[in-house]
């Protein structure tokens, strides 16, 4: 490892440590009561160091914690679905896995209960990035499936990305723990479009 990459490794470690500590602190006291000072104390670093990584202060730190958690969620999801080849299976098991992970996220659920007015607006911003990510992923998946002529892959991916996130976050009347129900949902509302004659 050369000097340059050692240095960037150190940077990443510190940043990761700050993000982790901030998340833990949010779990204890909620978003509103998090202070940069407290995070600095927990990490045993100076406030200035935190501001070097998060020039926008607390607001940026919290936004980055959320972005980081969303990224971890997606990364885990991608790894999980990579075991399936069939796009229908990817969708069915992906939805179920993503929903389970969402419900298991203790900090998310605690903050949703206690400070929805603080968290929800931030999540709406994050949601657009997640949709963009899923959109891209779906486009790569669509290369693998047979799609009816005349369909616009990008339009289909946009639809699927919106629908997937919507269903995972708010299943409505669908029971996402029931595999056969999820399969009906996926076959009808998600994948039937692929055989549509445009």
């Amino acid at each position: 490892m050369n000097k340059q990459s050692l240095r960037s490794q150190e940077l990443n470690d510190t940043k990761a440590k700050i993000l982790r500590s901030a998340l833990n602190l949010v779990a204890q006291v909620g978003i509103s009561k998090v202070t940069i000072e407290e995070v600095a104390t927990i990490c045993d670093i100076s406030r200035m160091t935190i501001y070097r990584y998060f020039p926008g202060g607390k607001e940026q730190l919290i936004a980055d914690v959320i972005a980081h958690e969303a990224f971890n969620w997606l990364e885990e999801l991608m790894e999980y679905v990579s075991q399936y080849n069939d796009f229908e299976d990817v969708a069915v098991y992906g939805i179920m896995f993503a929903r389970t992970k969402l419900l298991e996220h203790k900090v998310l659920n605690k903050v949703l209960d206690e400070e929805p007015e603080v968290l929800l607006p931030m999540l709406t911003i994050e949601a657009n990035r997640v949709i963009a990510f899923i959109h891209l992923y779906v486009v790569t998946q669509l290369f693998k499936v047979k799609m009816a002529k005349g369909l616009d892959a990008d339009e289909v991916a946009e639809y699927l990305a919106h629908m997937l996130l919507s269903v995972i976050v708010s299943p409505g009347s669908w029971d996402l723990t029931d595999e056969s129900a999820v399969r009906i949902l996926v076959k009808s509302q998600f994948l039937a479009v692929l055989s549509s004659v445009g």
């Binding site: 919106h162 708010s170 009347s173 029971d175 029931d178 009906i184 039937a192 549509s196 445009g198």
Partner: protein, 256 residues
Amino acid sequence: MVSNQAASTKKKYSTNSDHSDDALDDSVSGDNLANSLPNFGLNLSFSLGTKAVPVTESNLEGTTYDKITEGTFECLAKFGYSKTSMDDIAKQAKCSRATLYRLFPNGKDAIVTELVKKAVTDIFVLLKEVAETADDLYDAISKTMAAATYHLNQNVALQKVIECDPDFILPLLVFENMDSVLLTISNFGSEVFGKWLDEDISKVLIEWLARIVLTYFSSPKGQLKFNDANAISEFVDIFIRPGLSEMTKFQGIPKI
């Protein structure tokens, strides 16, 4: 498999909405719908579950009441949500602050709650009418989607609040809040599509359509998506038609 889904769907309805059964038994009318509206959960100060004052105190009260809700609508359209004060509302409604607070002791949240109930009721009455004039099921789907989108886009108060206070309105369309919205809407499925589909599929269908309309509506690029009737019926042909015939494979053969 089929009954499994139907059962779990029913179970969810019954656990999530106390009034859904009453609402289902009657045709769409203001009171039934208002009562069946979800309490928008979480801890938002804005909750649909609490009703400030019965509308029907007397005719006179009713008039003042209407003036207040109409005045509030005007204020929201002008100033958005956070910048509208009770004073603004009193001025716009041409009533005294005393009257205003007597009818709405809980302040503007309670008035806005009433406004939302009224707007939702209006939309459902409209959707039912629109579906009744449709040529066939797919025409009904396109027309109801178009009508719902048009209604959302034409609501000047809603548009202004989205513009000025996105933090207030967008969170109402995620997590449990969105679940409540979807479950409420699904209960009106057979009101709108019962002519062509059995009850279970009607519910699933209207929930699907509502999800699409609201999801696109609340995403930044999406609002342009359903801006004309042609775009909508094209969307219905590509995305809904094949999905709906797939769906009917699982739940008996409906009257399509």
